[in-house]
Every structure is written in structure tokens, then in C-alpha cells.
Amino acid sequence: MSTILKTEKLDVSEEQHIVAVRQAVRRLALEIKLSLVDQTKIVTAASELARNLLIYGGGGEVILRTLSAGIRHGLKVEFIDEGPGIEDLELALRDGFTSGGGMGLGLGGAKRLVNEFEIDSAPGRGTRIGITRWK
């Protein structure tokens, strides 16, 4: 099991907040000494998901946690909204699928950039997505 070292919360309700999420993820990724490539991957995944949160979820909250599991350190970022939710999760995770004006790379692409990816969503219940990158 992993223990939480540090928790930070960010509100995402306008477009500039996506940049704030990227910067917070970068700062914490540096703190746990992720490699440059791994930093770039989780920052990019977070950028995609923060934008989804705003566009599809109508805004919400991002929770960042640095984790420790034995000698390993990790960074987990959660994206929580109370928007319309996702009807077909399998379809939404497929490459090329988009319900909005995006490129359809958001979910599937973000999933490929991290070690762990959790998603919990249902119509009318909002969406919670968690991504974790371990060192």
C-alpha cells in the first residue's frame, strides 16, 4: 500500500486554470524526481484531462497527491466533475472517439501516458478520473 505524502487541490473553472494544473503537476513531478520524459508524460496527460474536465464536465476539481510506496514515489492526479458523465466508457476510451470538438485523443491518449488509470463515471453522476505515474 502507498502512503500520501502531500495533497493539493486546484479548482478548474476557466481556461487559464488548465495552465495552473500543468504547472502544479510539473512542480510535484519534480519534487518526487520523475525523469524528464515521465514529467512530460504526466503533465501532458493532466493537460488533456483538465481540458476535458472544463469542456465536458463543466469544470470541477483537481486533486494532486504525492505518494510513497516503500522506496518508490508516485504522483497521482484526480479530476472530479459533476457534469453529465460518460455514457459508454469503453467507447470513450477508444482512440479517435470524440463527442466534442476534440481530436479524440483525450482519454485513450492520456491513459497511455501514465502507469495507472482509473475512471468512474455514469450518466448524471459526473466523472472521476485518476492517473498515477510512478518513479
Binding site: V37, G106, L113
Partner: protein
């Protein structure tokens, strides 16, 4: 609202992105560049992204749009200086920047642009990347 500066260098436009762009800033750059291509009758656009720490699908799409719009307006765009970590992430994300010309650095990018517009050029261009890829 802040804007990303566009420099004119002969028949080329030069853009260096040095800030973490929010989406509206990226959209503004797209608009400004297309306007400037028309007003300055530029033949080439060089976009230096060596300071960019990430390229996500939004910025990727903007780079693709700029390339397409430039082409429609009779100019060519080249994106230069992508950091290796950004390139790795971009490909894993699923973005291949189809239709966007890229070069390793500003110098290689300028060579590529000169070749595209068929300018008189004495130097050997044999080491320039294939523009089709």
C-alpha cells in the same frame, strides 16, 4: 490580452513560443499568423517551439491548423526545436503531426523553407530532412 510576437525576416515570419500557452493564446497566435501571412505576403513561417515543455492535443492541433492555413495562403510553415521528451510524449499520446513540416533547429528549418520557396541558394541542402515526412 497578451499575444505571442511575430517577427518578419524578409519573406519569412518567425515565431518563438516562450510561454506556457493557454488555449486562447494558442488560438490568438493562429489568427494573428494567418492575418500576417496575408498582409506581409510571407512565403514561409518558422515556428520555434524549443521552449515548449509540452505539446498536448490542443497545441498539436493548432500547429496543424497553422500549417494548413499557411499552405492555403501560399506559404509553408515549419515547426522547429521540439524537445525529445515532448516528441516521445506526443507520439505516445497518438499525435503524429501529419502534414506539419518539422526540422531539428532554426537553421535547418530556414534551409527547408528556402528550399520550399525555391530561393536561389548556393549551399548544399543535402543534409536537410525529407520534407515529405
Amino acid at each position: 490580452m497578451d499575444r505571442i510576437p511575430i517577427l518578419t525576416m524578409g519573406q519569412f515570419l518567425l515565431v518563438t513560443i516562450q510561454v506556457d500557452m493557454h488555449d486562447r493564446l494558442a488560438m490568438a497566435l493562429q489568427d494573428d499568423l494567418t492575418t500576417r501571412i496575408t498582409t506581409s505576403r510571407a512565403k514561409g513561417v518558422l515556428i520555434d517551439i524549443s521552449s515548449l515543455e509540452i505539446v498536448d492535443s490542443f497545441i498539436g492541433r493548432m500547429l496543424g491548423n497553422i500549417s494548413s492555413m499557411a499552405r492555403v495562403l501560399g506559404a509553408e510553415a515549419v515547426v522547429v526545436g521540439m524537445q525529445p521528451a515532448v516528441a516521445i510524449t506526443l507520439v505516445e499520446l497518438g499525435l503524429s503531426l501529419d502534414g506539419v513540416h518539422t526540422a531539428l533547429d532554426v537553421e535547418k528549418g530556414m534551409q527547408l523553407l528556402r528550399r520550399y520557396i525555391g530561393a536561389e541558394f548556393e549551399e548544399s541542402l543535402s543534409d536537410v530532412d525529407d520534407p515529405e515526412n
